[in-house]
């Protein structure tokens, strides 16, 4: 039974990784659009003296949204920072438990943050809050997009926590390492090299 659950979770995790990649790509494209918008604004302001684009306001929203859309992608790449000085000295089984604690702490983080973000968004929506800016954006729109990213992050954290918990229970320590282990230093360095060698 546990074995079947493991296989199911593995499939769900693979889907979560693909989803996280697409969230990150979408966030990246938003950032590219921001580059275009901000550059245009600088140029227009230079030549006309003022700009009709309101890039400052929109860019702030893009920061919030694209960062929250990146959180899950960073997680599946094990790039959220953990201090692993002691971790690396521990036996493998202990590391597995530490990985579970790390994920559970992120789950707690998500419960609080998603809850708080939901409250803020709901309040803006119900109150019809408008941004105190020339665009008068209804604030709930960027907030809802931001909340979406946080909620997706929470979902991926929960999936990974379950997989690691089951992995520990069924003794698949290798798989636990694969899913949630602190990236070995070699891996980090390989990531850097991929960028600079090409």
């Amino acid at each position: 039974m546990l074995q079947q659950l493991n296989t199911g979770l593995d499939r769900a995790l693979a889907g979560a990784q693909r989803g996280s990649l697409w969230f990150a790509r979408a966030g990246g494209i938003l950032i590219l659009l921001t580059v275009v918008l901000v550059t245009l604004e600088v140029l227009i302001r230079q030549f006309l003296g003022r700009s009709p684009l309101h890039a400052t306001e929109l860019t702030g929203y893009v920061m919030a949204i694209s960062a929250s859309w990146a959180f899950a992608y960073t997680l599946v790449h094990k790039a959220h920072i953990r201090i692993d000085v002691l971790y690396l000295k521990c036996p493998v089984a202990v590391r597995g438990v530490l990985d579970l604690i790390a994920l559970l702490s992120l789950a707690l983080f998500c419960v609080l943050v998603v809850g708080a973000a939901f409250d803020v968004t709901a309040l803006s929506f119900n109150g019809g809050a408008l941004a105190n800016t020339p665009l008068e954006t209804p604030v709930w729109i960027p907030q809802a997009l931001w909340l979406t990213g946080l909620a997706w992050f929470a979902l991926v954290v929960v999936l990974m926590s379950l997989r690691v918990l089951l992995g520990l229970l069924t003794g698949q320590i290798g798989r636990v390492q694969e899913v949630a282990g602190s990236p070995t230093l070699d891996e980090q360095v390989a990531e850097e090299n991929k960028g600079s060698a090409s």
Partner: protein, 427 residues
């Protein structure tokens, strides 16, 4: 209260709990036990206002700029050009390492990226010419740290964001100390190689024709630096706008060099988002902790404690420097910054030190942390690029440069004008 929170912080970090959740949990802990009213109710607003930031988006933009530049392969040309100008000095190629790092720092906001870029180009050449591996790799790791001192700098943006200090002022303040540090690296290397020539390698000479024709390889980097930093100080652009201009410039250069394609852009974006997610999760958590610390009065309590202890401003400063050097051995640098800045910066500023000046001193200490073992990210990056040999080579090779950074810290404390000259000129 201070001791309890410190204890909680250390235990969680040592358990390898992710830094972002550690900060939030600590914030909640302080809220639960020490705040007269529940601060958690404000969490949503605090997180949203930290995230909705025109300033912070400069961070992904500078990361993206670096990602595109790295993928154009312009590092090789730059390295060869600087080698032809600098390798006659005792120490030869070592100076090309430092020079290229300095130049790349002027377009890159990150030390790790700078070290990885230089390492990839330099290390094969150093092996071929049979340089002593220790000082060779050490100079790359140390040179790479200039990336966060010479503007633009992601770490200075983080500092400015958390302490509400002007980013243009901070960038201006980083330029002279960054160049001076590079110069001290060169002088130190020359002295070491005069003392023990075997630690360096052969000096080589190049014709003036070669040198002059190599200069064109420096153009892309200098143009980008001019575009980014120039537009800020010409009053044309804010740091975020300057970063956008820089990204557009990098795209144009990459196109010009025939390296731009859909897949290159996609890879660069993915990589940018991975780093952005890592930095932002920590920053918003730190912003919440910052809010709790200020509301519960921990900061005032600490300041009062230090003042009550009769420590003068300079004794406190020495204490802070010592603390950063020690913590820098063990804690990854971005985490070190966001954990300590909310507590340390207000105290130092309350003692009468200038926030811009302290930002630069802090960045110097962070640079040191990047090359001090056991946790020194730049050491690992260089070792990784090297792909073999003993890690202690890099560690030992970086040591002289740690010493030089220490000298630089003393200079900064004795002569604050080194950092403050440009910002004061501009304001």
């Amino acid at each position: 209260m201070i001791l309890t929170s410190l204890f909680v912080l250390l235990v969680l970090l040592l358990l390898s709990v992710p830094v972002a959740s550690t900060l939030i949990v600590l914030g909640l802990f302080l809220d639960e036990f020490f705040s007269p009213f529940p601060l958690i109710n404000a969490m949503g607003d605090v997180l949203w206002s930290a995230s909705d930031s025109f300033l912070l988006i400069a961070i992904p933009l500078f990361i993206l700029l670096g990602e595109i530049l790295v993928r154009t392969g312009i590092a090789r040309g730059t390295y060869q050009a600087l080698e032809s100008w600098l390798s006659w000095l005792p120490g030869g190629l070592l100076h090309a390492n430092i020079g290229t790092a300095t130049l790349f720092s002027a377009t890159s906001g990150s030390s790790v990226a700078t070290a990885a870029t230089i390492g990839t180009v330099a290390i094969p050449q150093g092996k071929e010419m049979k340089y002593d591996q220790r000082l060779f790799t050490g100079s790359i790791a140390a040179g790479g740290t200039l990336g966060i001192m010479i503007p633009p700098s992601i770490n200075l943006i983080v500092y400015g964001f958390l302490t509400e200090t002007s980013i243009p002022q901070l960038f201006a303040a980083g330029l002279i100390p960054g160049l001076l540090l590079a110069l001290l690296f060169v002088v130190g290397t020359v002295l070491i190689c005069l003392w023990r020539p075997s630690l360096g390698g052969p000096s080589t000479h190049h014709s003036w024709a070669q040198r002059i024709s190599g200069l064109r390889h420096l153009l892309p980097v200098l143009i980008l630096f001019g575009l980014v930093v120039g537009s800020i100080y010409a009053g044309v652009a804010t740091p975020t706008e300057a970063a956008s201009l820089g990204v557009v410039g990098a795209f144009i250069i990459a196109q010009f060099m025939g390296k731009l394609s859909g897949s290159v852009i996609m890879r660069a974006l993915e990589s940018t988002m991975r780093t952005t997610g890592m930095i932002m999760l920590i920053i918003i958590s730190s912003y919440f902790l910052n809010f709790v610390l200020a509301s519960t009065g921990v900061t005032q309590e600490l300041t009062g404690f230090l003042e009550g202890a009769g420590l003068g401003p300079y004794s406190t400063l020495m204490l802070v420097i010592a603390m950063y050097i020690v913590l820098g051995f063990f804690i990854e640098t971005l985490s070190l910054m966001v954990i300590t800045i909310p507590i340390v910066a207000p105290i130092i500023i309350a003692m009468g030190f200038d926030p811009v000046w302290f930002g630069i001193l802090l960045i110097l200490l962070i640079e040191m942390a990047l090359i001090t073992p056991p946790v020194g990210l730049n050491l690992y990056v260089v070792q990784g690029v090297r792909g073999g040999g003993s890690f202690s080579d890099v560690m030992v090779g970086a040591l002289p440069y740690v010493g030089i950074m220490f000298v630089m810290a003393i200079i900064l404390v004795l002569f604050p004008a080194v950092a403050m000259f440009l910002p004061e000129l501009l304001s």
